[in-house]
Symmetry: C2
Subunit: 217 residues, 2 copies
């Protein structure tokens, strides 16, 4: 019996894409069953956490038998909606934005940057690594035309809230925020913030305080 | 009484750099006292979490009175070792690495990329945005010379483990890993992984499953 995915704890949910990627690797290697120990070794997540996570997926491992790789793959594919591609807009093509344009999540077949916006672009738009870049004055029109609901925000801090307001107005559902600004948006808009300075400072803090080591997402 | 910082929960520790940044802003605005509500509003973290975190810092807020800004600033400065600069090496100056070189954490006075490595660099080294870039064959020598113990890893996935082994050999203490590889290293080396594809997939998963909204680090 598969539990409702909405009941899965948030920390577990954040690991789903990672589990999916590793399960795919094991499936490609024709592995039928996998133990929590093998996954732990490959993913650097402790085996107890994996077993607890998997119990939420309705996957019951048996001692000396392990988990069914195909069952888990099906579960993750469905949970992550892997059969449907999600189109994403990139706002801000500075140095970090350019890295995203070039990279464009080519390892994932289900997420893709399909357009970008930058003040350096002309009104007619330019192209970079196959992605059209438009002037920010066209955000609402272009995103609505394509029905895009997710944006990656890599603009200067001074622009972040203003553009967020515009995205909210236009009906955005989620923002991956790389600016250091704590954005204000309605409850219905999901915002994940990745502040690279904070990440580096946190790493240094942990090193200096010698906390228990583990790989952290 | 200030609790030993090593007893502070990990989730709380990860928020320290963020608290520090916001407290600095309030101090610059000549604010003497601050309530958990005001901080909550500014930081988009719920007030109960802030109060729980602050109880670990020995900061006791009083109703209608709030927290002492200077006390908290002193606590964070000490906990984060803000008076000491940490020099960091950047390994891999591709598109993401170039963004780091250009950005170089200029908002933080206490962390700084002081050297970078890339196969495109000559043996004599080149310079980019004021940062010397050396050939990877010089990683051990250059980092040892400068006593660098923290590295940001932005190399192709195929190189990640090999370079990690070299860094471990040379005595690295922490790695901020931007490759999708789950690195193998001794327990004593702290590794934080930020996988941008996984972050984007997790955001999309949360949107599609309509989980309770909150800003997530």
């Amino acid at each position: 019996m598969i539990e409702e995915t909405s009941k899965i704890p948030q920390a577990t949910s954040k690991r789903l894409p990672l589990y999916y990627r590793f399960l795919q690797n094991f499936a490609s290697a024709n592995k039928k069953r996998i133990s929590s120990g093998e996954l732990s070794e490959a993913m650097k997540i402790d085996a107890a956490t994996i077993r607890r996570d998997f119990s939420h997926f309705g996957a019951l491992g048996r001692k000396g038998y392990g988990y069914d790789v195909q069952y888990l793959l099906r579960f993750f594919r469905e949970a992550l909606d892997q059969d449907k591609e999600t189109d994403v807009a990139l706002i801000g093509v500075g140095s970090l934005g350019s890295a995203f344009v070039k990279y464009n999540f080519h390892k994932n077949h289900n997420t893709r940057i399909v357009m970008a916006f930058d003040p350096a672009a002309t009104i007619e738009g330019v192209e970079k690594s196959g992605i059209p870049i438009y002037h920010p004055s066209q955000i609402t029109q272009k995103m609505e035309e394509e029905g895009i609901e997710v944006a990656i925000l890599t603009v200067p801090a001074s622009e972040a809230q203003k553009i967020t307001d515009e995205l909210v107005e236009m009906g955005i559902k989620g923002i991956l925020n790389f600016t250091p600004v704590r954005l204000t948006a309605p409850e219905s808009v999901r915002i994940h913030t990745i502040d690279l300075s904070v990440e580096l400072q946190a790493l240094i803090y942990f090193i200096k305080n010698d906390l228990k080591n583990s790989q952290i997402e």
